[in-house]
């Protein structure tokens, strides 16, 4: 996963090293190497949070929290652990811990809709906004699965390990999430703008599993 930020990414030696190699260096005391991993994961993690919470400021804060946790718990990183799975585990836990302290109030706000790339027709822009809205109205667990599998492009096997269930369960849940997304999307299409706000009571953060980081 390559980030777009400049900085240490320009160092060819660093660029050629895998995430795991870099993390092992961080673990062994080279804290500054974490900057390369930050550059690689800053944008994906930010988008993971932004699509889940719909809150830009919170997403920025949570990304910082993830890297602070990595520093604090760097000694728990073991050789052979896939770094991406490890960092997403930390990211999930950071979010769950955050929402344990304050209940989420997820609601779609127009400014949350990212600007669609220039040149897109107006209809596509509208569809994208509607879809984003539908996504935000899904129960948290379903939204998280779609974000992980579709936007973060994690394979089902990795997601299964992350959320602590079987691969077939993930696939079934993905299908159900898409079916529900379809229903909500239709409801939003049928309803006048701003009046199709579904109840978001079901937005309960998923339970923590795995590492205590």
């Amino acid at each position: 996963m390559q980030g777009q930020d400049a900085g240490r990414e320009n160092d060819p030696r660093m660029q050629s090293e895998t995430d795991e190699e870099l993390m092992l260096q961080v673990r062994d005391g080279a804290g500054e190497t974490l900057g390369v991993l930050f550059d690689r994961y800053h944008t994906p993690l930010y988008n993971f949070y932004a699509k889940l919470t719909g809150d830009r400021t919170l997403s920025e804060d949570l990304v910082q929290e993830v890297f602070l946790r990595i520093l604090r718990h760097r000694n728990t990183f073991r050789m052979g652990t896939p770094f991406r799975a490890w960092i997403y585990q930390i990211a999930r836990n950071a979010r769950i811990d955050h929402f344990r302290k304050s209940r989420p109030e997820v609601a779609f706000e127009p400014e949350m809709a990212p600007a669609v790339a220039q040149g897109d027709p107006a209809q596509q822009q509208q569809e994208s906004e509607l879809l984003h809205r539908a996504l935000m109205e899904l129960p948290e667990e379903k939204r998280e699965l779609l974000v992980l599998c579709r936007f973060q492009e994690l394979p089902y096997e990795e997601v299964a390990r992350l959320v602590g269930c079987g691969v077939s369960t993930v696939k079934v849940r993905i299908h159900r999430a898409l079916q529900e997304l379809r229903e909500v999307f239709h409801q939003l299409q049928a309803a006048p703008a701003g009046s199709a706000q579904r109840n978001t009571r079901q937005n309960i953060p998923p339970r923590r599993i795995g590492h205590e980081v």
Binding site: Q4, D5, G7, G31, E32, L34, G35, F38, D39, H42, T43, Y46, N47, A50, K51, R56, S59, E60, V63, Q64, F67, L68, L71, P114, A115, V116, A117, Q124, E127, S128, L131, H132, L135, L146, C149, R150, F151, P155, Y156, V170, K171, V172, I174, H175, L178, Q179, L181, R182, F185
Partner: protein
């Protein structure tokens, strides 16, 4: 193929994880089923929601956090290292002295020292100041060994600790106190009996008699109770008679202990 069957294949189809044959089956179904087609279409449409770029301030915040963390760690690390280094040597020596190996080493060292002193005293046959100082040192060391061994996990080592106290005429208050504690609270009956035997030589100390009298009520083992009664009789401690009376009134008291208490009361009065 039915929608339910396609549902099992669709997720893999979406992540392009199907073989050519299964892919064709799904695609044929999607052409004829509006609902499944919409579901698959939504997956593709989700790509319409583009990724956002986080603010550049995020990188600066990260740099600041990393710097602060490393600075904090550096200071904390050096403080910890100093504390660990200073604590380590003292602690490990203390631990070693308390370990069984340490106790054995103490014993050997003391025997060697004792032999040397004995030879010196025998040769000199006089109490020079140096010899007096060495004698005091030897006594102190023996008492330290006794104290250390009384705190060991193993009952046999505690027993040995009790026997070390017998070698001294005058016990250090700390050792005496440890011995009294052993009499009252040691888990092993043998060690408690040995402690009582060692304490019997220190009847001159008022707190020793008091401890033995108090132990009468506390002890549950008939063996120890009988030994305590015998000790009080041996000391001819008339003040213990009322406590013995109280003891024999204790419900469910062992018959032998009660008879022994009766005998002791008659002796003391």
């Amino acid at each position: 193929m039915k929608c339910e069957e396609i549902a099992g294949l669709l997720p893999d189809y979406l992540q392009e994880g199907l073989g050519a044959e299964q892919k064709k089956i799904v695609e044929r179904h999607l052409e004829s089923c509006v609902q499944c087609n919409e579901v698959a279409g939504l997956w593709k449409k989700l790509a319409l929601i583009p990724d956002e770029q986080p603010s550049a301030a995020g990188r600066e915040r990260f740099e600041a956090m990393l710097h602060a963390y490393q600075t904090g760690r550096g200071e904390e690390g050096s403080t910890r290292r100093v504390a660990a280094d200073s604590g380590k040597s003292g602690w490990s020596v203390f631990q070693w002295l308390r370990s069984p190996v340490g106790a054995v080493a103490w014993s050997i060292a003391l025997v060697a020292l004792g032999t040397y002193l004995g030879m010196q005293i025998g040769a000199a046959k006089s109490g020079s100041q140096d010899l007096a100082a060495m004698h005091t040192e030897l006594t102190n060391m023996r008492q330290m060994v006794a104290l250390s061994m009384l705190q060991q996990q193993s009952a046999s080592q505690r027993l040995e600790g009790v026997s070390w106290t017998r070698r001294e005429g005058q016990l250090d208050p700390q050792v005496l106190s440890a011995l009294m504690h052993t009499l009252r609270y040691d888990q092993s009956v043998d060690v408690r009996l040995a402690a009582l035997d060692a304490l019997s030589r220190h009847a001159g100390q008022p707190q020793v008699k008091q401890t033995v009298v108090d132990a009468l009520q506390e002890q549950q083992s008939p063996l120890v109770q009988v030994a305590l009664i015998d000790q009080l009789v041996e000391w001819r401690d008339a003040e213990a008679a009322p406590r013995l009376e109280k003891l024999r009134e204790t419900p469910n008291l062992n018959t032998t202990v009660r008879q022994r208490a009766d005998w002791a009361i008659s002796k003391l009065n």
